[in-house]
């Protein structure tokens, strides 16, 4: 029996690796989902036939599985703008599960008087700490993304000192538990509480703009807590699958940090966007404005139009109107590309999903590094709901808080059209010099209304020709 279980786990591991490998290309990616689901099914069946799982408990397991399915199905149908919240929530569930299993195992050992060796106890502490801090931290992140909690940084006095002391206290408790789990078992609840509290305090000072990095980091923690569970349970499948998740989260958070020119420590302990308001110069400068009709004329006569979408576009639900513009222009032989900044949207890759939903072919979604060399050839750059990612101050103004952040070189295009509600500075409170550029025309208004009018103007002219 146990040989079959191990074989099932082995095949499941291979399927998980293939699953991720097939994500390298949109053409094979759906096969990846199938492989992953098959691997998971195999792992579950393999575990259910484990002799330690008694038949009398199957009914309880079945009820738990049904409950999980009932919660899971609606969570898979959320609108795509809410995918970051859903992801954060699922990290919370993952962390919670790890924390609970760790707690159960600890009391199994302690109450049963079983021997708990140092290795298992260290792994247990890691599992419980990571699990519970991921649980509350991810709940906070989900709350901020859903705007149940304020998305601006919530600051408190001596936050880094308090967090540091909490961590030291938790590690000290763990140290004693590792030293003698039975004698210090009363410290175990303290570890749980400290981890829960640490998760809350770690995430609430982090602002909405940093959420893509935070989600990726919590993803990594959720994976590592599964690894720790694998060490505790002596289960290699948990270790491999958890390590795959952990490394994925790690890579994504590194990409996000690079895209914002920040370091991990800066994201976690820096409280972005609090003191930087003063950096904007109060100098009054003039901007040129244009009508949607002007914009349509300009784009119609272009060879290459680059659209820079930001989260503002998704908030205004303007994607489908943007698709209409795309259709009208491509029909006339204008080449249209979408320039995607790595932090566009609220989680890694979010903007691609939002544009794919509105049926824009993925070949025309171009990464920042690939589009930047072509920007000088762009006749028109249309900026919709993006702000900091097109601010040239990041390149040359070393006093700007976003200095050093890689940007999409919109300012190099021959003409720039920026759709914006008003001249209020964006999320980080930073003035955008792009809007004052001689080549820039501002189109004021709601992104959905403006893009709708541009699409209408383009459609009207098709009839005239």
């Amino acid at each position: 029996m146990s040989l079959w279980i191990q074989l099932a786990y082995l095949v499941a591991t291979a399927l998980f690796i293939f699953s991720l490998k097939w994500m390298s290309d949109p053409k094979t990616a759906r096969r990846g989902v199938l492989a992953g689901a098959l691997g998971m099914g195999l792992a579950i069946v393999g575990t259910l036939i484990d002799p330690s799982v008694i038949a009398g408990n199957y009914k309880w397991i079945a009820i738990a599985v049904i409950l999980g399915t009932i919660i899971g199905v609606p969570l898979s149908r959320v609108p795509l703008t809410a995918v970051p919240q859903r992801t954060a929530l699922s990290h919370a569930f993952g962390g919670f599960a790890a924390g609970l299993v760790g707690t159960a195992k600890f009391y199994y050992y302690v109450q049963g008087g079983h021997e708990l060796n140092t290795f298992i106890m260290i792994a247990l502490c890691a599992e419980v700490l990571l699990g519970y801090l991921t649980f509350t931290g991810s709940l906070m992140a989900a709350g901020k993304l859903q705007e149940v909690l304020p998305s601006r940084p919530i600051l408190y006095k001596n936050q880094n000192l308090i967090n540091f002391l909490l961590l030291v206290a938790a590690i000290a408790c763990c140290g004693l538990l590792v030293y003698d789990p039975h004698r210090f078992s009363y410290l175990f609840p303290a570890v749980i509480v400290l981890a829960l509290l640490f998760g809350v305090l770690l995430i609430i000072p982090i602002g909405g703009a940093d959420m893509p990095t935070v989600i990726a980091l919590l993803n990594s923690y959720a994976g590592l807590s599964a690894v720790a569970m694998g060490f505790v349970l002596n289960n290699k499948l948990l270790i491999t699958a958890g390590a795959l998740d952990g490394s994925s989260g790690l890579i994504l958070s590194i990409i996000m940090c690079k895209a914002m020119n920040r370091s991990f420590t800066n994201v976690l302990f820096g409280a972005f966007g609090q003191v930087q308001q003063a950096a904007g110069e109060a100098e009054k400068r003039t901007v040129k404005s244009a009508t949607p009709k002007d914009a349509a004329d300009l784009m119609e006569n272009a060879n290459l139009v680059v659209v820079v979408p930001g989260y503002g576009m998704a908030v205004a639900q303007a994607q489908h109107r943007v698709r209409e513009i795309y259709d009208h222009l491509t029909k006339r032989g204008v080449s249209v590309k979408f320039a995607i900044h790595p932090v566009a949207g609220r989680m890694p890759g979010h903007m691609n999903v939002l544009l794919a939903e509105s049926d824009i072919p993925y070949e025309d979604l171009v990464e920042m590094d690939e589009i930047n060399p072509d920007m000088p050839q762009a006749d028109v750059c249309l900026v919709i709901g993006a702000n900091d990612v097109v601010n040239p101050a990041a390149l040359h103004n070393d006093k700007s808080p976003i200095y050093g952040m890689p940007i999409i070189n919109s300012h190099k295009a021959k003409a720039i059209l920026a759709i914006k509600r008003s001249m209020n500075p964006g999320f980080a409170g930073i003035e955008n010099e792009l809007y004052y550029d001689d080549k820039t025309l501002m189109i004021f208004g709601d992104a959905k209304a403006v893009t709708g009018e541009i699409a209408k103007a383009l459609a009207g002219e098709t009839g005239g020709h």
Binding site: A64, T69, G72, V101, I255
Partner: protein, 117 residues
Amino acid sequence: MAQEPAGIKLSGYVDTEMPDYVGMIFVFMLSTFIGLQVINQVSRLLHTPLMSLTNAISAIAVVGAILVGGRSYVANDEPTWINILGLIAIVASVTNIVSGFLITDRMLKMFKRKEGK
């Protein structure tokens, strides 16, 4: 490798047996390297579906939850509060499995190529 006497289960509960700790760390190290390699190849287009897919995969915690929740801890096999913790962990993990795979597939379906090409 540790010798497994007949009758001792390989998976999960080898509580009295000395498990192969170094072997586990080996597995962890190698799978992290594989993970880093494979994830680096993932198209940037697909980073959001990647995250929901790895979410679902890391819900492999369900294995641990079933082992803890499905085991008998008392002589009459009555569920104890340790079982209940495991069962709640199963609910949380299955939620991630179901919603993770479904939403990943839903998003991937949206990625289309140009028509007629």
